[in-house]
């Protein structure tokens, strides 16, 4: 799991049976008490924008509380936010479908403090993969045992192994860093298996990976807000990023979502057009959603 905190926004991505939404009340109390940010309006909270999403769970009954059921999560979110909309993304009945909750942009807040009105693009690429290639999944299994004594000056084995896995799998080379900006990574290899990493480019762009390699329910996710064209000086696009990620995991199925604020974002077109004839995969679904001031592309693929 990962948390990214910026000055004005945060992204929390959690795996397993975590209870992500149970932090909401305390989070908004904290920003009110510590920062003086009060977003309350007629009993609801109205920040600039909220997204909550997840792919459908493999084992929903093992989730805790409201997270067992999308309707319960939506109901819970509606208690906080006044202008939320809930979407099912993909095909109903497919085990790979995806759920999304998004609030209407609070444009009054935009004007309130005289911030820049310049429209900056914001893009997020997410690739959710299942049925990982067995040899590929094996890269994320370790032999160390939990509970080893901690040496005060010794190496941290989980982070050390995570670093090596990142290098060996070339997950640190997903992006062409042509601009030669700062690159930082923080990776952890879980024991007996599993892997998480945060990789940060130019102090503000991240991509994050989470892998559960167990046979039968193997899964890997890749999420990125890296503006690939800018970072690579035009030598790379998100189709190429997708191909590199698929090469690391060789999944049997995957779905890709791409959010973009800029309707003229060229990766939106490229992902829509250039993924029709991938050599190893058949594209089963392509759906475009127009969400207030964002557009969302959803693609689903199966191995040939």
């Amino acid at each position: 799991s990962s948390l990214f905190v910026f000055d004005h926004k945060l992204t929390l991505k959690t795996c397993g049976t975590t209870t992500t939404l149970f932090c909401l009340e305390e989070l908004f109390r904290t920003v009110r008490d510590h920062l003086g940010w009060n977003f309350c309006l007629q009993g609801k909270i109205n920040p600039y924008k909220v997204f909550y999403s997840r792919r459908c769970f493999m084992f929903p009954k093992k989730q805790q509380g409201i997270h067992q059921n999308w309707d319960d999560e939506t109901h819970y979110l509606d208690q906080f936010f006044s202008k939320g909309k809930s979407y099912l993304v993909g095909r109903l009945g497919q085990t790979s479908h995806w759920n999304l909750y998004v609030t209407e942009t609070n444009k009054e807040l935009e004007a309130q403090y005289g911030g820049t009105n310049e429209e900056e693009d914001d893009e997020t690429l997410e690739i959710l993969m299942t049925g990982l290639g067995p040899a590929k999944a094996a890269q994320f299994v370790t032999t160390r045992e939990p509970g080893q004594p901690v040496e005060s000056d010794g190496e941290d084995e989980g982070h050390d192994l995570g670093f090596r896995v990142t290098q060996q799998t070339q997950l640190d080379q997903v992006y062409e860093n042509v601009k030669n900006v700062s690159f930082q990574q923080d990776a952890f290899a879980f024991t007996p298996c599993g892997y998480s990493s945060n990789l940060v480019l130019d102090h503000e762009y991240f991509y994050t990976l989470h892998v559960t390699p167990e046979v039968g329910w193997s899964y890997a996710s890749f999420e990125s807000n890296v503006p690939v064209r800018d970072m690579s000086c035009g030598t790379q696009d998100n189709v190429n990023v997708m191909e590199r990620v698929l090469g690391v995991f060789q999944p049997s199925d995957f779905c890709l979502t791409f959010f973009s604020r800029d309707f003229a974002n060229d990766n939106f077109d490229k992902l829509g057009k250039h993924t029709q004839n991938l050599s190893n995969y058949i594209r089963r679904d392509k759906i475009v959603y127009d969400l207030d001031d964002y557009q969302l592309l959803y693609l689903r693929f199966e191995r040939k």
């Binding site: 948390l3 493999m58 509970g147």
Partner: protein, 87 residues
């Protein structure tokens, strides 16, 4: 265990958690993704206001306990704090 480690490139690392974490029961892959934009960008934050990044580390630890996550490590950059979490 919450301690700052100046020796590594991490801003924070929890060696004890790292050594003892067992992922055997972490069976569910698909994640829950929550993204909250309090303001459109950093320039839209009220003048003279503190920002999310001025919230103390121990408060994030407490918030994450509600989510059932612990902080394994954290790296600060000029514009972002990136936490790597248990689970």
């Amino acid at each position: 265990t919450v301690s700052m480690d100046e020796k590594s490139s991490h801003t924070y690392i929890d060696r004890e958690l790292s050594a003892n974490l067992d992922s055997t029961d972490a069976f569910e892959g698909p994640e829950k993704l929550l993204e909250i934009w309090f303001f459109k960008n950093a320039n839209s934050i009220p003048p003279k206001s503190k920002t999310l990044r001025s919230i103390e580390f121990k408060i994030w630890v407490r918030l994450l306990q509600l989510v059932k996550c612990q902080v394994l490590s954290m790296k600060q950059t000029e514009k972002m704090d990136a936490f790597l979490l248990s689970e």
